[in-house]
Symmetry: C2
Subunit: 199 residues, 2 copies
């Protein structure tokens, strides 16, 4: 398989972390989002929505959207529960991540990584809604070791990716004791790899 990915992407990191923990081997092709390399005709044939990560299977079929790729990789493994409610609850937290967390926590980080300073009002709104997502996570983790099904799953991988670098988006995680305990727990999982290689 070939994973089209940009090392700065937390969405791509979700897939890289799951692959490392599942022992899945994959060729990596770097695509530079900021240089427009996801908008070329060649890339748009792989993913007409022009986003990484995109996975190209050995049979030539492509798969995009980080959460869909996580499902494809994890189905049948310990990262995906056996029972229907547990599976749906994993998807519940992965949808929470894509709708209520990533557009704020990840986008604030992205804004602060641009050469020009961000619009303060826009950044403030992203941070306010990002904190709302962190509040929900901390509340849940006060009484749950992991997000869904009583086990470490692709829901934890999906939420870990941008939460563990939330400080780069201006978020102070200091008051989130349960989130910090969980972040430490994820970092200690077998097969853990960091977001970007120290190069």
């Amino acid at each position: 398989m070939i994973l089209y990915d940009d090392p700065i992407s937390g969405n791509g990191y979700k897939v890289r972390l799951a692959m490392a923990q599942l022992g899945v081997d994959c060729e990596l092709i770097e695509v530079d989002i900021l240089k427009g390399e996801t908008r070329t005709p060649k890339f748009l044939r792989l993913n007409p929505n022009g986003k990484i990560p995109t996975l190209l299977l050995d049979d030539g079929r492509a798969l995009s959207e980080s959460n869909a790729i996580l499902y494809y990789l994890a189905s049948g493994s310990p990262l995906w529960p056996d029972d229907l409610y547990g599976q749906a609850d994993v998807l519940r937290w992965m949808n929470f991540e894509q709708y209520s967390h990533e557009p704020y926590v990840a986008v604030a980080r992205f804004m602060l990584h641009q050469p020009d300073p961000p619009d303060p009002a826009v950044l403030a709104e992203k941070q306010e809604r990002g904190y709302a997502a962190l509040d929900v996570m901390d509340g849940h983790l006060k009484s749950h070791e992991f997000f869904a099904a009583g086990r470490y799953s692709i829901a934890d991988i999906a939420l870990y990716a941008y939460t563990h670098v939330a400080d780069e988006g201006g978020f102070d995680l200091g008051k989130y004791d349960a989130v910090n305990r969980w972040l430490e727990s994820v970092r200690g999982r077998p097969g853990y790899v960091p977001m970007a290689p120290a190069d």
Copy 2:
């Protein structure tokens, strides 16, 4: 089961449409988003993220996020493919809907339903990105009858909900021949129900 829902919500309609097509019986409790009824302590115990639709199972467990509820209802039915790639591709389009479509197509509609006129620049940005999502859909549907796995699935239900009322968000669907053919096809499916009862 009890479905907590607001009749104006396309996310809730996804669940209502799937239930109708699957023959699932469910009590409906209306929750008024605009009156803050998703932010009460009682509702937040069901869904700490304070959003409908939320499904309460007979055993007292709750499930939120429309796409997760769709998975829970459709697993094992004809609305969910049997093969792993087909399943992942359904999730791919459902994630596309939540990340690249709903925040623009649905939010533009929401903005135009408020008593105060929307900020023109904000509305224009929502519409621009909403059209980008519609472009991707139309391109795909030019060569595919349905979104994933060569069959009608919960991916179609998820994308139908806000696309078929996109005109209420100021979108002109006139040029999207493939989308219009697909909308007509969904409307003709057995068990189809409209978004809101004519009352």
